[in-house]
Amino acid sequence: MLLIHCPYCDETLPEAEFAYAGQAHVLRPQDPSAQTDEQWEEFLFIRENPKGPHFERWRHQHGCGRFFNAVRDTVSDKFLTTYRAGAPRPDLASLTESLT
């Protein structure tokens, strides 16, 4: 079972308290009606499937209830970092560097 750091509670807690919530940084457009069908398809359905670091959302479902973002390596299943919703994407290079 993974241990996940909730950036709101500032606690590292077992995975069972958390729920996965899909890819991160998929922004809902300000005016969806102005979107073309292709753009809307992109927003609704098209997701990354990387082998390596993945930006994704988690929710501290059985804790504070907050949604937050995380970078998880899909190969090692290790969390490189977690950060609050709305915070900018962390720099991947510095994250993977700190691992080695």
């Binding site: 079972m1 009606s33 809307w40 609704l44 949604f67 090692s76 709305g86």
Partner: protein, 996 residues
């Protein structure tokens, strides 16, 4: 004392006889024996029949890796366990054990014809033998396979034992309490580190238990062991025996199963049978030791043929000679010591047969001193004997040529093909392995976990090396955790390190195609099968494994994987590291379902949510149905009533006068804040701005893809406060969806969301007399058409209780929903029930609620919709606020596929023959078309309707809303039913009955 028990040897208690039964026969062992050691002490090697060929088998090992000696154990009623390893099960007075895979008896077994017909059962026989004729599959092959498949017999009674579950947090977890583990614990237990040492055996010590000759710092091994364990316990180390680390999971989480009662004659009343530990360790030291490899030759599975190291264990730990005239067959030094130990205990060792041309002079000298004949550069080509080995056929090998055979009479063959590190848990960490050319085995390399591996499990042989490595690894992990661990130095006398060579099949002078040289004993896989798999095109070791089933039995390939790999690699013409090892997966040893289930069984398997009114329904004889986690009153049968009768009576009574219904399970969410109305506008399809406080509205929730997610009546209590109701099953999902949008898309909105589902008890009153019943009890609002019209809501007092009152209808009748604080629910229910008696009030359940709403064409999300239905498909276009600039689902609803013609749409169906359709039945336009017919929809709801005077149904039909009046067909197994497409409202389409 029996013929095979050696006085003064072993750790068993000679003065404590223990009687148990094996296949009904009484067997006497000693306290400290396992079933296997006790049977061996009585001269019994035959303990079971093999899986595929039903060949007679005896124990080949002495520990948890045992593939052959699997037995059923019975401790009491319902306490039967199949496939218990006889080498692990400790005996006690009264234990009942049985052999497996035999009929009618262990010594005379009909299934053994499979052995003669072995040509039929070669690798991949499932795919070949049972191919033709096709008609044989159902009647011949499948019943045969099903009858023959499986090991042992499943228990048929409910397990009366209890199983526990615990968490454990520690600094250092050490798996394996042999010399390496003990030394690691001693080195790491400094400075208050929490150290846990676990071992699957009944006592700690590992190899030391089998090698009492060794002395550590001058102290005999067993004395040293006792002193060391006492010292560790004194230092605060938690030593856990009979505890198996079954799996290594992410971030140093280790699953461990502790067996607490299987070894006890009397079960303590308050002790669980097993306890599952979920351990989170800062550092893990794996010191699991090594497993001895069998040698692969024809007849290497005959009872009496066993691993040399195991024979040594039986002698030194249990005081049992596995044979009085053993032959030792080896490619490794270690088996020589087994020969010496058995000879010193009185056995007449017939010969030491070694595949190697030269051995260490000191070993040779020791053999000579004992008068043991030595045969170097020899191979074994066969064993013989019916139910027990009687002789071994050996041949000299000179320059690769197998010479003339000689036969050695014997009653046991002790074999050793060398040792392979136990890499199972390391492999669970996704650790990488490196091939060691000198040891011809895989050794652990890197792991992503905070874990180190010590002793024989990384290829270090001998007690001294294990102690030294364990001490160093223990010190290192302590240092890693900021403590100054102490790595002491150990001096070991009479240590027995050794070397050997790794073999594939032993060379033979016979047709290798006819050899039954077993690699995987438990799944009956021979060397020939592995080579056949490669010849038939299997290239990956994973394919070879699955095709032959090598390593796939419950022993997880503990003894077979490396031999299997070496043979497959040879057949492929590749080096073993290029072929690679198959993956070991948890659990390390077979684990009971009980240990995994823990407390989660029976009523504790899942939460049952009950409303505050549930107890009344139970008292009143309701039949319940599960809805999500809730149990809800389904219907309230009176004496002798069927479900149909009861539902019909409830429906009629409600429409005739008044019915009451426990609606407390409805999901409720309080949406509050200055931006509450804006939030509601964005979430729900409907417009909310113009909804006045005190009024309510049917709300529809879509996803951004445009499909219906949920629905419910939503009341605006004040300007900034909405009382949102959701479907019973959708409450948590809807709140999560709201939180998601609020937190991540619109964090600027000033809105707070609170789940209030269990805050309120909700009672629905429906029927023409509902207002008359309720009005006298209500303070704060007049229940008139003018003061409190349909779709109103208000905070008021009902029967003296603070209440939130809604005038809504899910039945088409005058309806009220009274919400009171949950603890008051049953009291209000009783008051309303009593007040309703003059009106012949009727309590109704969910089935009647379903019928009444279907008569009005009100949909149930999840029954009439399935996640691909839009508001337009459901006939709910009126609930979509087209003028709003945006809401969740607005853009989705404009997707070309959602506006296309021919979508499945919700309609009513009336059968021509007045029969009731089956929910889920498929619909076609043309019943005469050839098979397979084009299905154009399905029935979503179907009931008998008393109000409509006939059965009614709702259905999703392709283009349904444009097909009013058309006939569709529902093919059933016995006939085709014709039905006419209609609107969805079957009762009171003018809504006249809603008015006071």
């Amino acid at each position: 004392m029996s013929r095979y028990r050696v006085a003064g040897k072993g750790r068993v208690e000679t003065a404590q006889p223990v009687d148990f039964t094996f296949d009904g026969r009484r067997i006497r062992g000693l306290r400290g024996d396992t079933v296997a050691s006790a049977l061996l002490a009585n001269g019994i090697h035959l303990m079971g029949r093999s899986f595929k060929y039903h060949r007679p088998r005896g124990p080949v090992a002495a520990g948890s890796e045992e593939p052959n000696a699997l037995i059923g154990t019975r401790r009491g009623k319902g306490q039967f366990e199949p496939n218990t390893r006889a080498t692990v099960q400790e005996i006690w007075d009264g234990l009942e054990t049985t052999s497996q895979n035999k009929f009618p008896s262990l010594t005379w077994d009909i299934g053994a014809v499979n052995d003669a017909a072995y040509m039929l059962f070669s690798a991949g026989f499932y795919y070949k033998t049972f191919m033709w004729p096709k008609s044989f599959w159902d009647k011949v092959y499948e019943p045969f396979i099903r009858a023959a498949a499986g090991l042992g017999v499943s228990p048929s009674e409910e397990d009366p034992d209890s199983y526990a579950s615990r968490y454990l947090h520690c600094d250092v977890l050490i798996v394996g309490a042999g010399p390496a583990g003990l030394a690691a614990a001693r080195a790491a237990c400094a400075e208050g580190l929490r150290v846990v040492l676990v071992d699957e055996n009944s006592e700690a010590g590992g190899t030391l238990l089998s090698e009492p000759q060794a002395r550590i710092g001058g102290t005999p091994a067993w004395v040293w062991l006792a002193q060391e364990l006492a010292a560790l316990r004194a230092a605060g180390v938690r030593v856990m025996t009979r505890t198996t680390a079954i799996g290594y999971y992410h971030q140093n989480m280790i699953g461990m199963v502790e067996k607490l009662t299987d070894h006890l004659p009397q079960q303590p009343a308050d002790t669980p049978r097993e306890r599952m530990w979920r351990v989170r360790a800062k550092r893990v030291v794996l010191a699991q030791g090594a497993l001895e490899k069998p040698l692969v030759f024809h007849g290497n599975d005959r009872p009496g043929v066993m691993l040399a190291g195991s024979a040594q264990t039986y002698l030194n730990r249990y005081g049992v000679l596995v044979g009085r005239q053993p032959v030792v067959l080896t490619s490794h030094d270690s088996a020589w010591y087994a020969a010496f130990d058995l000879a010193d205990a009185g056995a007449k060792v017939q010969a030491i047969v070694d595949t190697r041309a030269t051995v260490r002079p000191d070993l040779r000298a020791e053999a000579d001193r004992r008068g043991i004949p030595v045969k170097l550069s020899h191979t074994a080509t066969a064993s013989s004997g019916r139910l027990r080995v009687a002789s071994l056929r050996i041949n000299p090998v000179l320059n690769g040529t197998v010479g003339a055979a000689a036969t050695i009479r014997c009653d046991a063959v002790l074999m050793s093909g060398g040792w392979t590190p136990s890499l199972h848990l390391f492999s669970h960490t996704r650790g990488s392995l490196a091939w060691d050319e000198d040891l011809t085995t895989f050794l652990p390399k890197d792991t992503p976990e905070d874990c180190v591996i010590a002793g024989a499990s990384r290829g270090l042989w001998g007690i001294a090396a294990a102690l030294q490595d364990g001490a160093e690894k223990g010190r290192a992990v302590a240092a890693d955790l900021g403590a100054a661990g102490i790595a002491r130095a150990y001096e070991v006398q009479d240590d027995r390190p050794g070397q050997g060579e790794s073999r594939r099949e032993l060379p033979t002078d016979r047709d290798p195609g006819r050899a039954k040289a077993f690699v995987d004993y438990q799944n009956d896989v021979t060397a020939k099968d592995l080579r056949l798999a490669v010849r038939e095109g299997m290239r990956s070791i994973e394919h070879v494994k699955r095709y032959t089933t090598n390593g796939m039995a419950t022993d997880q390939g503990k003894m077979s994987n490396i031999n299997g790999l070496n043979i497959a690699a040879d057949a492929l013409g590749k080096a073993p590291p290029q072929v690679g090892l198959t993956t070991f997966r948890p659990p390390y040893t077979p684990t009971s379902f009980g240990a995994f289930a823990g407390y989660h069984r029976g009523a504790h398997f899942e939460v049952t949510r009950k409303t505050r009114i549930d107890s009344w329904a139970e008292d009143y004889g309701a039949v319940f149905e599960p809805v999500g986690q809730w149990r809800r009153a389904w219907y309230f049968p009176e004496a002798g009533e069927s479900m149909d009768d009861a539902v019909r009576r409830e429906c009629v009574a409600t429409r005739a006068s008044v019915g009451m219904f426990d609606a407390s399970t409805l999901g409720k969410i309080e949406v509050v804040g200055p931006d509450a109305v804006e939030f509601m506008n964005r979430m729900y399809t409907n417009p909310w701005t113009k909804l006045a406080p005190g009024r309510c509205r049917y709300g529809l929730l879509c996803g951004d893809d445009g499909f219906i997610r949920d629905d419910g009546v939503i009341g605006r209590m004040t300007e900034d406060r909405f009382h949102v109701t959701t479907t019973t099953g959708g409450a948590a999902r809807v709140l999560t969806m709201m939180e998601d949008y609020l937190q991540t898309e619109w964090p600027d909105l000033q809105v707070w969301l609170t789940s209030t589902t269990e805050h309120w008890a909700t009672i629905a009153l429906n029927g023409p007399n509902a207002a008359k019943l309720l009005a006298p009890l209500v303070d704060g609002v007049e229940l008139t058409e003018a003061a409190f019209p349909h779709m109103s809501c208000v905070d008021c007092t009902v029967a003296g209780m603070p209440a939130r009152l809604f005038r809504v209808s899910f039945t088409g009748e005058i309806g009220f929903e009274v919400n009171v604080p949950a603890p008051m629910g049953r009291r209000l229910w009783q008051i309303l029930w009593d007040a309703g008696q003059p009106y012949d009030i009727c309590a109704y359940g969910t089935e009647t609620m379903h019928v009444l709403r279907a008569e009005k064409g009100y949909i149930i999300v999840g029954q009439d919709t399935d996640g691909t239905v839009t508001p337009h498909d459901a006939g709910l276009s009126w609930a979509v606020g087209k003028a709003k600039p945006d809401f969740v689902g607005k853009r989705g609803l404009a997707r070309p596929d959602l506006t296309a013609k021919g979508r499945k749409q919700l309609v009513g169906l009336l059968t021509e023959d007045q029969s009731r359709l089956e929910e889920g039945a498929q619909i076609v336009f043309d019943p005469n078309q050839p098979l397979p017919m084009k299905m154009v929809g399905h029935v979503t709801s179907s009931y008998h309707s008393d109000a409509a005077g006939r059965p009614i149904a709702l259905a999703l039909v392709e283009g349904g809303q444009d097909r009013m009046g058309e006939t569709v067909h529902i093919p059933m197994h016995d006939r085709v039913i014709a039905a006419k497409i209609t609107g969805m409202v079957f009762v009171d389409p003018e809504n006249a009955r809603l008015k006071l």
